[in-house]
């Protein structure tokens, strides 16, 4: 724990001399059925180079045609982020050579983004921070390189690389924040909260599956330090490869500490791209390019301008779903949650699951306990978001209902949850298949109790002699015999009755 302490104090120490300014560039793969400029499928995990065609392979002569749904999704994202929607804009070519980019230019947007000037409010520690949105624009994703040879599977030291273009051309939305100032020590948490809120919005809009672990949501974190008392921002670095919410926070913290150490020693920060390393929590310098990149942007001549009709944009605005912040406000008042209770659900990423469980008929307290308790444990063990567990809120509500009715004990309820996750079948199905219901047939229990007494005569004698706690052994024996399907309290009452002890002594 020493390193932890050192890091915490180093971090606090940084903030006595510097103020962080940060910005985030988030790339989101849209969940359209087909690619941005061709009809190839966007489905994840296909065999290499099976979702490719003349357009997304950049074959000579092939031409792009815009996917209408991608335009609509991007505008809805812009509207949800309070952006202005351009009345006229164009795509541009961003020219640079890279083997995963089939045309060696990326069709993107340059000085005419589809959405500009918006904001997103995020809550951190009870404080609301407004993050300005600079722009939201649409572009195409690249293919994927696999590096072969060398020790690390990384690009450096590899002998050669293999390219799969299935991902090339998947619509990609880039959401760029304005620089965020004045958040002090909270900066990394604000950054994390922003990405979390953005992710929830995108999920609510249904425009992306926002799976950071599959790369459908990716984050670049720009960080700089301003010396206390100065008004001039320091040189920023751009940290790429930040693939989880936790990493957003860690990457910024470690970058702040790294930059402060350089500045303290009188050094200068080099404007560069850095890569976050999950294992160490540190950022590492990307190879600095031998010369400045010159992307030679110009309007994409193979496409015509976009001019979203104002009435259509208003229709899209009117059709936006209830966004997470509004939903949280409503849930708080409807379900009488405290601010802390809501916050813990937000932190666990379980707000929707919780609300849907309540909507399916479960009492709020029980729903909260299950999602923040057993289900969160399972999610942690599997290293996934709790919402990613393969169990629906309706199924959880069913388990809660059965536990409430005494059909399942709490322990059995957990077994049911385990079985649902394991088999992918429904609650009733696993109960029937595995015979998990509480045994409530008293004659069967009486039989089992008599058998337990007969098998343990000395213990039965102790109980009869007044040593009531000894009955626990007999209860355990019955529970074992009924494979945990009996309610322990009922078993105990039957045992005491068969042993001739009526009622529980006060």
């Amino acid at each position: 724990m020493t390193t932890q302490t050192t890091e915490v104090s180093a971090y606090d120490d940084v903030l006595t001399r510097y103020q962080p300014v940060f910005g985030l560039e988030t790339h989101v793969e849209l969940g359209t059925a087909s690619k941005m400029f061709c009809g190839c499928s966007t489905a994840f995990g296909a065999e290499p180079n099976t979702h490719t065609c003349p357009v997304c392979l950049g074959l000579p002569g092939a031409l792009p045609v815009v996917n209408a749904a991608a335009i609509e999704y991007t505008i809805r994202i812009g509207l949800a982020l309070n952006c202005t929607i351009a009345s006229w804009c164009r795509f541009a070519r961003k020219n640079y050579f890279y083997p995963d980019m089939p045309k060696n230019y990326q069709i993107s947007q340059y000085d005419e983004p589809l959405c500009g000037e918006g904001y997103l409010d995020v809550e951190v520690n009870g404080r609301t921070v407004r993050v300005g949105i600079e722009r939201v624009h649409l572009e195409e994703d690249t293919g994927k390189n696999t590096h072969v040879g060398g020790a690390t599977g990384r690009i450096h030291g590899a002998d050669y690389s293999l390219v799969d273009f299935n991902r090339a051309g998947i619509p990609l939305v880039e959401i760029v924040t304005k620089p965020v100032e004045g958040t002090g020590a909270m900066a990394p948490e604000v950054a994390r909260a922003y990405v979390a809120e953005l992710r929830d919005i995108l999920r609510t809009l249904g425009v992306s599956d926002v799976k950071m672990e599959q790369g459908s949501l990716r984050c670049d974190v720009n960080t700089s330090l301003t010396p206390a008392g100065s008004s001039e921002w320091g040189t920023r670095t751009e940290t790429k490869n930040v693939n989880s919410l936790r990493s957003v926070e860690r990457a910024m913290r470690s970058e702040m500490i790294r930059q402060a150490a350089i500045l303290d020693a009188g050094g200068r920060i080099k404007q560069e791209t850095r890569h976050f390393q999950e294992a160490t929590g540190q950022t590492r310098s990307g190879r600095s390019k031998e010369e400045a990149t010159d992307y030679r942007y110009f309007p994409e001549p193979d496409l015509v301008p976009l001019a979203p009709d104002a009435d259509w944009v208003e229709q899209l605005r009117a059709g936006l779903p209830e966004l997470p912040a509004a939903r949280r406000r409503r849930l708080r008042s409807e379900l009488a949650l405290s601010a802390d209770e809501l916050q813990s659900l937000v932190n666990a990423g379980a707000v929707d699951a919780f609300a849907d469980t309540v909507a399916a008929g479960a009492p709020a307290a029980e729903a909260r306990n299950w999602w923040l308790g057993y289900l969160s444990q399972l999610a942690n063990a599997r290293e996934v978001e709790v919402s990613a567990l393969a169990i629906t809120p309706a199924q959880v509500a069913k388990v809660i209902e059965l536990v409430g009715a005494g059909t399942l004990s709490t322990a059995l309820g957990r077994q049911v949850v385990d079985a649902v996750l394991e088999t992918g079948t429904g609650v009733e199905q696993v109960i029937a298949d595995r015979g998990l219901a509480v045994v409530s047939d008293t004659s069967a229990l009486t039989e089992a109790a008599d058998a337990a007494i007969a098998a343990n005569p000395d213990i039965a004698e102790k109980v009869r002699g007044g040593k009531l706690p000894a009955v626990g052994v007999l209860v355990g024996s019955v529970m074992k015999a009924t494979r945990g399907q009996a309610d322990a309290a009922t078993v105990k009452a039957i045992l005491l009755e068969r042993l001739g002890i009526s009622g529980t002594p006060g």
Partner: protein, 103 residues
């Protein structure tokens, strides 16, 4: 402005060749430096047209909002995708060691 542009140097030509991924030879550097200079000189008069308030034309016939419905169309068979490739391994395009930055 192009009008008072100094002549294109060998170094500038070399820089352009790097940007364009052309491994030009030393002889070509000299040849191209001279030729590009002549060409650029004769197109420099483009700057003569006072055009501050003129809208640029990027398409001869104005069209806008051309899009297709979000429908999946069959991709190419993979053997056809890979058929023209100089080098293939594990159904992927094989390329030599990449020295550039990780993307």
């Amino acid at each position: 402005m192009p009008d008072d542009r100094s002549t294109l140097t060998r170094d500038e030509v070399a820089h352009l060749a790097r940007l364009a991924r052309l491994a030009v030879t030393e002889d070509e550097l000299d040849l191209f430096a001279g030729q590009l200079d002549v060409i650029l000189g004769s197109i420099a008069r483009i700057g003569d047209v006072a055009a501050a308030d003129i809208e640029p034309t990027s398409h001869a016939v104005p069209l806008q909002n051309v899009a297709r419905p979000d429908a999946v169309i069959a991709s190419l068979p993979r053997d056809e995708v890979l058929a023209g490739a100089p080098s293939v391994e594990d159904d992927r395009f094989r390329v030599p060691q990449i020295l550039g930055e990780e993307e």
